[in-house]
Homo-oligomer: 225 residues x 2
């Protein structure tokens, strides 16, 4: 059976990716990170989702990026901003996060002999992070092929970003067509253990707007309506 | 004062890099990884070395790659081979290791506003790892520039591999000219806490030959002469 590593945050996009990889017949190796994120409720979601989709294996890697500071998502001294509070690259940007996650996924993919890595980034409805752009992804692919034994042996691991050109609404419609239950997912940057979403952060705003645009019922419980 | 992140394993090459970065006037942010390596004696060495060179900060990141398996350096079920035991890419290859380490260094460099990352890889006297080649490094540089806020703002972080075209002997001669005390360093893949090197693994063989070729006294205590 063909294998894929799927980066799984527990949010809407990565869950759609997992559903898609499963639908395409891959044995899925789900990979999550406990990286010091304040919204670690997403990790509980990720565990449920991996179980729900019968992932072959689910690993949660401990990697305390919070120690290095520099992001509202991990640094206790920087508050998570509301949507629209700032121009440009937001405070929630975690330096090199996708690169770090993809690199570890690359190592694992080589170990389990997976042919693909799925990542749920989008260059359409996103938060302005540089590591969500197609040109970034193409450069990562080239680097990954040169970095690895599999690449040297001309069986490179392919990085798949099936949502890269989809809006949030299009991603949702794709997920709905695959039978995804979005009540399992957590997007909010302030998500607490009770699973209540703030409704105000960038991630909540993008999620809410996605459900509205897709005309799909939003199962999320928001603190602010 | 200009800043650099320096990847510091505690071995000969990374210590030479740290000495060089210091000599070039950088405030050095040394970065080591407790990644499940059996030879974690190198981490004690790294701490001493960071102190010796008065690094501005030294972080040891916990990242249990051993959980993912796949390398003689981290997997208890795979013995560390002697030098010459195998053709091609050796069992000590850790999938995507340099990519993972450089990615985390990239994140930290962006946070502390470092202009460079120093890495002690060499494409001359090396163990056949794909992620030690100049073409790999060039691809990582390109990816890193696209991945980061600093790259978007046209102040990319430069990856420096000053040893990439040096033999082990040339690296040693460079280090000696900078006053490096190599008795502080640990290279052996089987290094134990008493600091005794096996003398037989790839890393010991390269180290010993380097000292011989450079006609520099080797301060290492080897179990096998």
């Amino acid at each position: 059976m063909k294998k894929a590593v799927v980066l799984l945050s527990g949010g809407l996009d990565s869950t759609t990716c997992l559903a898609l990889a499963k639908d395409q017949g891959y044995a899925c190796y789900a990979l999550s990170f406990s990286y010091g994120q304040k919204h670690n409720a997403e990790l509980f979601a990720a565990k449920n989702i991996a179980r729900h989709f019968a992932a072959t294996q689910h690993e949660v890697i401990d990697l305390n990026l919070g120690r290095l500071g520099g992001s509202a998502l991990t640094d206790p001294s920087i508050a998570i901003p509301d949507h629209g509070a700032q121009e440009g690259i937001p405070l929630t940007y975690v330096p090199a996060r996708n690169t770090i996650f993809l690199s570890i996924a690359l190592g694992w993919a080589e170990i389990v002999q997976a042919e693909k890595i799925f990542i749920g980034i989008s260059a359409v409805d996103y938060s302005g992070y540089p590591d969500c752009r197609p040109e970034y992804l193409a450069a990562f692919q080239r680097m990954a092929t040169l970095a690895t034994k599999t690449g040297v042996e001309e069986k490179p691991i392919h990085i798949e970003a099936p949502l890269i050109h989809l809006s949030k609404a299009e991603t949702l419609m794709l997920g709905v067509s695959l039978g995804v239950d979005y009540s399992l997912t957590v997007s909010c940057y302030r998500a607490n253990v009770e699973g209540l979403a703030c409704g105000c952060c960038d991630s909540c705003k993008l999620r809410r707007r996605g459900f509205e645009d897709a005309a799909v019922d939003d199962p999320t419980r928001y603190a602010v309506q």
